[in-house]
């Protein structure tokens, strides 16, 4: 499983790529592998304010429905419209073209509090 070192992670298997005042969010390689073939992604509306830990999107595979939780508090500034027609991008390129939303970062401290790649990888090895 890949866990790029430049990203921050949650225990719920989301990643955040901070770039200035905002950051893209997706689900990790581990999460997409666990879910299996992704067939549908429900995206939040642009402009929606979300709180850290709030479910603000849904990723569905053939068999299951999984919430996507906001890793940090912020406002949705854009969503990945490419997932509407090709949800399988989440499987094929979870850290790239499979990104789900971009959030405006409200509090930098929340970003700093997220797991780094090493801590997230250790969590997986700890048994899931």
């Amino acid at each position: 499983m890949k866990t790029p070192s430049e990203l921050r992670y949650t225990e719920d298997h989301e990643w955040l790529r901070p770039e200035g005042k905002s950051g893209r969010i997706g689900i990790t390689d581990f999460a997409q592998d666990q879910l299996g073939d992704v067939v549908f992604v429900e995206l939040p509306e642009v402009g929606r304010a979300v709180k850290k830990g709030e479910a603000f999107g849904v990723v569905e595979s053939v068999k299951s429905v999984s919430d996507v939780f906001a890793p940090i508090t912020g406002k949705v500034v854009s969503v990945n419209q490419g997932l509407v027609d090709t949800p399988e991008l989440v499987n094929q390129d979870p850290y790239g073209q499979g990104w789900i939303v971009e959030l405006e970062i409200a509090d930098d401290a929340e970003v700093q509090a997220l797991l780094d790649a090493q801590a997230y990888a250790a969590l997986q090895e700890g048994g899931h």
Binding site: Q34, G36, D37, V39, F40, E42, V58, E60, S61, V62, K63, V65, V84
Partner: protein, 369 residues
Amino acid sequence: MGKRTPLYGEHVALGARMVDFGGWDMPVQYPSGILAEHEAVRTRAGLFDVSHMGEIECTGENALEFADHLVANDCMRLAMDQVLYTPMCYPDGGVVDDLLVYRLQDRVLLVINASNTDKDFAWVREQQDAFAGDVKVRDISSKTAQLALQGPKAQEVLQRLTAKDLGEIAFFHAAEDVEVAGKRALVSRTGYTGEDGFEVYLPAEDAVHVWREILRAGEPEGVIPCGLGARDSLRFEACLPLYGHELDDQHNPLEAGLKFFVKLAKSDFVGHAALVRVQEQGGPERRLAGFRLLERGIARQGYPLLDVQGQPVGTTTSGMPSPTLGAAIGLGFLPAALAQPGTRIAVDVRGRAVSAEVVKIPFYRRSAK
């Protein structure tokens, strides 16, 4: 830790994702994924471990009469080595389970759902106590492994492992003492995928050998192991009911669309009076219907079904995007008046009303040869 089939080690070695299913540790999918496994069965063939299924053996002079008393379908018209599908009801018409009944040389075999095995066996025992004829019942589930090879290439592949002419086994018929890869098995042309295929029952200790041999024999055709995920999506497209979804003790088989498998002309069986009453009162008030979503979204089990005014009128029993049809479809119970194809309804998908249309079922039917 759940119960394990004799093939547990094979699944782990193949990289399967194991999940709990009715108390069993079962493979939900292998690394190929549900969609690829589903497609393999529709276009080639796939091999399933279904050893978790329960088997009850009925012996004695009146074993067939006993089975006939237990279930709603007509066992008395079964020829030797013939198989039938049937619901088994409580006296109030609710469904205990759905099962296969095999009429074999010296016994009648009932093949029941894994998660219902203990409940079913207790129920069958109870009926046996009240039954006047000569019958003994035995739960042989733990000694019996079951493999299902399903798909258009199933016969061609399995034929390589046996001298028995599989072409002689007709749909819903069985053959006993068939040597498969050198092991003796009961082979039937049955399945739960909507495709042609075989189910192979054999002693638990022979399961690993035969599993490996079938996969090896099927390599040229691209036969792959398939998990419960694909088994569910395949049976769902073919509208084969799954206990706990389309069937339970709160619904009778007439509501669940199994009228064809309920023989009310039979003089008596458990649940007969209740089902006769349903028919006399004009048929069931609610019916299982299939629907297709007209907007983006996926209906899942438990999601409410709404009428066009937005009032809840039923519940989704199974739903997913159909790999074969490429559309999000579902099954659910609706008032009889709304269960007609063409009727507009909606599905409450996490608080959003997604419009849908009732369609004819089954969603998928394999083309005739």
